[in-house]
């Protein structure tokens, strides 16, 4: 086989696979962009105009929504980074138990729990009330406060475990121990070595996850509906209301807003990088002055304590969520309710549960198959290995969902695909696939190629090598990827809402809908099931490979997802 043939096959496969993976994304973006400039043929609007910009800028609530969005996203991302790093420095490479449950819990469930925890009549105020002898809840606003503090808390509780996990994952190749020893032998305090030597290295390696956090915080909808202010809401929520509202004239400004949100995400990332440069410059000056940083310890310890507090709040939120779901009457300031299973009997959580599970299984299975196909194509030499593939696959995670989904919805509309189970699965696959692929790609690429060569030398063809060797060897990462996929699917709010056209009801959509209603017990019941589903998946994913390979010592080394 000559090189040109090989190159041609490679380019064709490359175009085919990338096209298949990203077609809905590009199509959705183009649709959104067209609508932003007034091109909405199905509504008889076929002129290109920039009128939507003015409509957007003059729309009620736009400017406060924009300000709220930028402030909450930037502050939440910055705080999450600082807290996660301080905690990372204090943990010494050890992974605390609460990381997995907090990571696995969908935003909506955690948001509901936090709301129950910090509300004026919530569990925290009850605790104060018990101490101070209050008989009624204080008259303050804690959930949905106009500054977005509750929303930022929700984001921080969710993102600190994520960033912590990323830091733990990239730590392995770094000689942290030696650098610490070297730094301390030069008279630096441990905290000084952490901040001046280790943090800059770790930071560079977790930059991409950090930008995912920033982009996510900018465009979050479910958590914002539960914990964020309503008037004005963050921009993504405002846009969603316009998209789904009764006034078709708002589609164009809403699309323009979605485009603006994308530009905003890109602009903030660029600003962030400029800030990074500035900080690096100042940091070098600080480092050259040669201080040994003996007072830095308190700084790290302080931030780490706050980080622990935030995570304790997260775990407590899940506890309070469970309590509300089994409460009958819960007068202030009692710390425990009168228990009853009434909510579980009354609330219709079974149907959304079955729908959520089915959507999760279908979209995760599809995403796994797709990921295996792409990685096999890579092994077969049809796809060149490299970071470009990761970048392409990450697009749906980096671009605000509100900018993609209305376009994808309008793309599916003429095919009669919207509002059904199939369309919703499709939408979920778009957002589940990146996570499943990333969970699988590293362990897959780390497989010892000589092991595969030995199998081929023993006469095993491509299919047998896949089924008998690669997939069993990767059972751990496959199970972990599946659990992650189920968790991501269960957490999908906006994609279910748009492609399900409001007719597909999952635990996440129901939990968000019930959060603003009067029936806390029903909301709590949905939230509990929503939290338990991914947790159960993670538990199985940890247990399964350990059980299957309990008599195979070399298979037990890195099974944890």
């Amino acid at each position: 086989m000559g090189a040109p043939v090989y190159k041609v096959r490679q380019s064709a496969a490359r175009i085919g696979i990338v096209g298949m993976l990203t077609l809905p994304i590009w199509a959705g973006l183009v649709q959104t962009l067209a609508a932003a400039f007034g091109w909405i043929p199905e509504m008889g609007m076929k002129t290109v105009t920039i009128q939507a910009i003015w409509l957007l800028l003059e729309a009620p609530g736009f400017w406060p929504a924009l300000r709220l969005t930028v402030v909450t996203a930037v502050v939440a991302t910055l705080v999450s980074l600082l807290l996660a790093f301080a905690l990372f420095a204090r943990l010494g490479g050890h992974r605390p138990w609460f990381v997995t449950p907090l990571l696995a819990t969908p935003h909506a469930a955690l948001g509901l729990g936090l709301a129950f925890l910090i509300a004026p009549a919530g569990w925290l105020m009850r605790a104060f009330g018990q101490l101070l002898g209050w008989t009624s809840p204080p008259a303050i606003v804690t959930v949905g406060d106009p500054f977005g503090l509750a929303l930022m808390l929700g984001l921080v509780v969710k993102e600190v475990p994520f960033l912590l996990l990323m830091m733990l994952a990239v730590r392995l190749p770094l000689p942290v121990g030696q650098q610490m020893a070297a730094g301390r032998s030069l008279g630096h305090s441990a905290a000084s070595v952490w901040i001046k030597v280790i943090f800059p290295q770790i930071y560079l390696l977790i930059r991409l996850p950090l930008f995912i956090v920033l982009a996510f915080s900018l465009s979050v909808v479910d958590l914002a509906l539960i914990l964020g202010p309503g008037v004005p809401p963050p921009l993504a929520v405002l846009l969603m209301r316009w998209f789904l509202g009764p006034d078709p004239a708002m589609i164009a400004p809403a699309s323009m807003g979605a485009v603006l949100l994308m530009v905003l995400a890109a602009g903030l990332v660029m600003l962030w990088i400029m800030g990074e440069r500035l900080l690096a410059h100042l940091g070098r000056g600080w480092l050259r002055r040669g201080g040994r940083g003996r007072s830095l310890h308190a700084l790290i310890a302080g931030f780490a304590a706050v980080a622990r507090l935030a995570l304790v709040l997260g775990i407590a939120a899940l506890g309070v969520l469970a309590l509300w779901s089994v409460s009958l009457r819960w007068p202030f300031p009692h710390l425990l309710p009168d228990f009853s299973v009434m909510a579980w009997q009354a609330a219709d959580w079974a149907d959304p549960f079955v729908t959520t599970l089915a959507l999760g299984l279908a979209s995760t299975a599809a995403a796994l198959v797709l990921a295996i196909l792409v990685l096999e194509a890579e092994d077969a030499g049809l796809l060149p290995r490299g970071r470009w593939l990761t970048a392409v696959i990450l697009i749906p995670v980096l671009v605000p969902q509100i900018a993609l989904l209305p376009g994808i919805y309008r793309l599916a509309l003429p095919f009669g695909m919207t509002g059904g189970f199939g369309a919703t699965v499709w939408a979920h696959v778009i957002f589940v696939f990146p996570y499943v692929f990333l969970a699988l790609a590293d362990p897959w690429r780390r497989l010892d190629p000589r092991m595969i060569h030995v199998a081929a030398a023993l006469g095993a063809g491509r299919a047998r090598r896949l089924w008998r060797l690669k997939l069993p060897l990767l059972l751990g990462p496959l199970a972990a990827g599946a659990a992650l996929g189920l968790a991501v699917s269960a957490g999908q709010y906006l994609s279910t809402l748009f492609l399900g056209a409001g007719r597909v009801q999952t635990l996440a959509t129901e939990a968000v809908a019930l959060a603003s209603g009067a029936d806390r017990r029903a909301a709590a019941a949905h939230g509990v099931v929503l939290a338990l589903l991914p947790l159960a998946a993670y538990t199985v994913a940890i247990w399964l490979p350990r059980h299957v390979f309990r008599h195979r010592r070399d298979m037990l080394t890195d099974a944890a997802p």
């Binding site: 081929a456 030398a457 023993l458 008998r468 069993p472 060897l473 195979r552």
Partner: protein, 221 residues
Amino acid sequence: MLHLDRLSVSLPDTGPIFAPVSLVVQPGQVATVMGPSGVGKSTLLDAIGGHLAPGCRVHGDVRLGERSLLSLPAERRRIGLLFQDALLFPHLSVGDNLAFGLPARVKGRAARRTAVEVALAQAGLAGFHDRDPATLSGGQKVRAALMRTLLAEPRAVLLDEPFARLDAGLRADIRAFTFDHARQMGIPVLLVTHDAEDAQAAAGPVVELLAAEQFPSGFRR
């Protein structure tokens, strides 16, 4: 007979990485390729076995008997491969590792089990069928890996420094065991090593692998 005919390899972005090698290995003979580390000894074996990464190019020819192997995928070349880490499949029992390579024409559960048990006994591993490969000693692993290779009935065997990890006492034993079995099979064996003792024990032809840049281009054409 394994015949390397002016064999060299280009990686996707390089010219030939080592000077062309020509070598004939007769059935029952153990030939040795020596050379400093990094010269491309493993790449040479990959070229013979069909394991080169996509985009690499092979120059010259590899023949078994009269037939050129270059157009065949690795799984149809029937060239066994043995590495210094025995590379037993960690998810299978020792017995299933051997059964993996056993040709499909050995039919029936009992017959296949017997074939595996016989091979295990030959390697001094009787009763090891259900053992976890991770619990084997270094020497046991190499013997099990050799039996796995031979059960697949290869037409030639490539050894990539298979004794490098063993300590000196064990090394001679395992080496003799390996060479004896290969000679009994009456197939050509090609050993890659940088240990002169290995080459001596192999008692076959020895060729030195040289980096390509030490030769003017067109050398021996």
